[in-house]
Symmetry: C2
Subunit: 474 residues, 2 copies
């Protein structure tokens, strides 16, 4: 029976209700992994531990994720497992769970292991790792996307019901687009980053990959919560997935600022998706993305590269040979920026934030193609930098602007590659972004966005009890 089971929350719960045991699911998950023969997905497989945990789970006792298998990006700590950040020299065995992992454990979820990534989460391709590269789940010629490559592929391949990624510049969205799954990038500070290896500490968040918007949302609602131990954790409003207001205004890039680097199928697929939004009743406003691109540029050409240097520590100067060559080349300039440069960068960001806020005045959502184009393994082998940069077109600016977002599949393009939309909203509006994504996921053309989710289909985000629910806005 587990062999035919789709590993979604819904299907697993139904199967468990029918008497299936969690250890059978864990065994089936690893059997699937073995059959796949892709050594790049997991950097650490917790076969014995996961099985033991499954056996020891006891009865559900109301735990909503009882027996749900998941995977964790290898820059997030799971107690007793090694954390490498895809840098073998960095390896250490975690003494404690990251905040989010601890929460998932308490809810009954079972971690199957740690997944591959672009080293220190620096990259959007998924090939910047000294380990084997995970194969793209849709087309082996494509990169898997990164930096959360293994976590996205593990979900797309049906090995787990969900996985944890991280997202600083797009690492939780780009691989979702490349592997045709949902990626939820929370508002900064909504999920604690305690126990996560930082990339750019001021811009990092844990993210979620799942098989559907409703399941991604449920997982977000279950893991979100204020953590006093994480200085970047913020008390955000208790959110529930609710129908959208009757009329929503959606901004999209105007023709002149839509960048697809010659991938015409991506442009036409995006236009078709926008048409669906319009057809469904959304008021669509075309805006110039220039100030957003200017923000994006800051991330890798400005002093923020120094944040990545700060995260890697003395390794860059004292043991550079332990770093992936591409990573080393990217980080090196971070040593040259001065404090004065940094503050000037922060000033420039503040000016651009204002420009972007004014551009979004009166607008509910910004919808963008998740990626401007696809990138193949061959292209990245020929040039490890430029194709990677392209992929951040619609993702790099998001955390610098303190926005939240959710990536949702929009069906195949004519060439079979997966279409994907990212819905972006202001910080704290995660539930609204999810509501629009849900509508897009369900086809959208028939119903209007205002019809939103049906309550029965979604586990309303009960944020855990230790959550301090404080209204935050502005």
């Amino acid at each position: 029976m587990p062999r035919d089971l789709t590993f979604t929350l819904d299907a697993l719960r139904a199967a468990y209700a029918g008497g299936l045991r969690p250890e059978a699911v864990v065994e089936e998950a690893f059997a699937r992994l073995d059959a796949l023969n892709d050594p790049g997905i997991f950097l650490h497989q917790a076969r014995a531990v996961a099985l033991a945990e499954a056996r020891a789970l006891g009865s559900p006792d109301g735990r909503p994720l009882w027996g749900i298998p998941y995977a964790v990006k290898d820059n997030i700590d799971v107690a007793g497992m090694p954390t490498t950040a895809a840098c073998p020299g960095f390896v250490h065995v975690a003494g404690a769970d990251a905040f989010v992992v601890a929460r998932l454990r308490a809810l009954g979820a079972i971690c199957l292991g740690k997944t591959n990534l672009d080293q220190f989460a620096t990259g959007l391709v998924g090939v910047r790792t000294p380990y084997p590269v995970p194969r793209n789940a849709v087309d082996p010629a494509l990169v898997p996307g990164g930096s959360s490559s293994g976590s996205a592929v593990a979900v797309a391949r049906g090995l787990v019901a969900f996985s944890l990624g991280t997202d600083t510049a797009g690492s939780g969205r780009v691989p979702a687009a490349f592997n045709d799954i949902v990626g939820l990038k929370p508002s900064l500070g909504a999920l604690s980053s305690a126990g996560m290896v930082p990339a750019c500490r001021t811009l990092d968040t844990v993210s979620l990959f799942a098989h559907s918007v409703a399941e991604a949302w449920e997982l977000f609602a279950l893991t979100a919560g204020f953590d006093a131990a994480d200085p970047w954790s913020r008390p955000l409003p208790r959110q529930q997935l609710a129908p959208l207001p009757p009329s929503v205004t959606v901004a999209v890039p105007d023709e002149a600022s839509l960048r697809t680097f010659g991938d015409t199928a991506q442009a036409s697929h995006f236009r078709a998706t926008v048409e669906r939004l319009r057809h469904g009743g959304a008021s669509v406003r075309e805006i110039d993305l220039a100030p957003f691109y200017a923000v994006a540029e800051l991330l890798y050409t400005g002093p923020w590269v120094a944040e990545r240097v700060a995260a890697v520590g003395a390794r860059l100067t004292e043991a550079p040979e332990t770093l992936h060559e591409t990573t080393r080349v990217i980080l090196a300039p971070g040593l040259k920026f001065s404090a004065v440069d940094t503050f000037k960068g922060l000033y420039r960001l503040e000016e651009l934030r204002r420009a972007c806020a004014l551009a979004l005045d009166g607008i509910d959502f910004l919808c963008v193609p998740t990626i401007p184009c696809f990138v193949t393994l061959e292209e990245v082998a020929a040039d490890p930098f430029e194709p990677n940069s392209r992929l951040g077109t619609y993702t790099n600016f998001v955390n610098l602007l303190d926005m939240c977002g959710i990536t949702v599949p929009t069906g195949p393009r004519p060439d079979g590659r997966p279409g994907s939309l990212t819905v972006l909203a202001r910080k704290g509006e995660d539930s609204r972004a999810a509501a629009l994504a849900l509508w897009v996921e369900r086809g959208g053309a028939a119903a209007s966005p205002a019809d939103g989710p049906a309550d029965s289909e979604i586990a309303d985000g009960e944020i855990a009890e230790d959550e301090i629910g404080i209204a935050v806005c502005g």
Copy 2:
């Protein structure tokens, strides 16, 4: 008649209602300045211009500051007047009013000129200027306090009804304490800083000096407002000065963390003020200020010095002789910090912010002595650095923690030097801080803080109509 007139808003309005003309007030103000024979207060006297403006004012037409004379710190632009920031080499004639000045002009106020300061607003003593030092209004042996020295002295001497200062590390509070007047330091972003020469751009605010809490509050309410042109301007809630809740909780430094550098009169005066608060019904909680002091230390020992370098620009390296010697020595280390240092400083700040937030959990206000001790001209002549540093003890941490504050006289100490309390609150709670300060100003012992202000006595802060009133908290 103007000769006997106290230049408060109330007294001036009453006199104007009785037929007095604004030009007579302007003439009287300059006559007082001449009589004072203190060439250090104003760096630019706008005698002819102010008189011409007074004559051209026309009828009040509902302008609430019609004919009210005020002074502007010389790091804030007034159209047509030179701005020097107390650095002669920096001088330029402003082409336009700073946002706040434009607003005051529209409300009918008359600017009498530009006032002295610690060069580029770097200092808390008021003597770091190449121009004559303004004399302390209470005791000529004391420093005037800075950096807004001239603006504070101009109010204390009765030359103007109010003045504009700026406050990054205490420049709007320390000189208020030294000259026995009220200093209101708004929440960051409440008053636009457009047209202000930056000191630390991320931590700067325009501030107000006035003769009473009620008048300071009215001026704040009249000048606060969102300014899209200033990236640091924030939409803050429309605030009114209202009675405090029946029971307020006030944190004060505990015995071990109360620093007075041997000034025992300051310690006992502060304790007496705290007793008054307690007697008036406030719940007083003693807390350890250690994390607040750790924040304060970041400001001058950490990378934030580089913000001051960024503000001064190439002058420090290319024309250092144009800088005040002390300023030069203070700024020089700012050149040495790297981008990595800066981000590490930001991380440390974020951790300390969390520690301070937890320390203030359940607390409404933090009340501190504005200054830990007094400093004489002689002491600063002997050591230009250390006595200055002391003065920032209770002010340096405030903007780094995004708090607002108001400094209020608490009556003379036994030695005749002015007592002063600063009430601090969270960002956006300016009106609450003002309400407690008002209660302190009025003697406090009889009434409880909950009695707060009487509505009839305060012009309720009608924030101007172009204000976008959005609730902000958390």
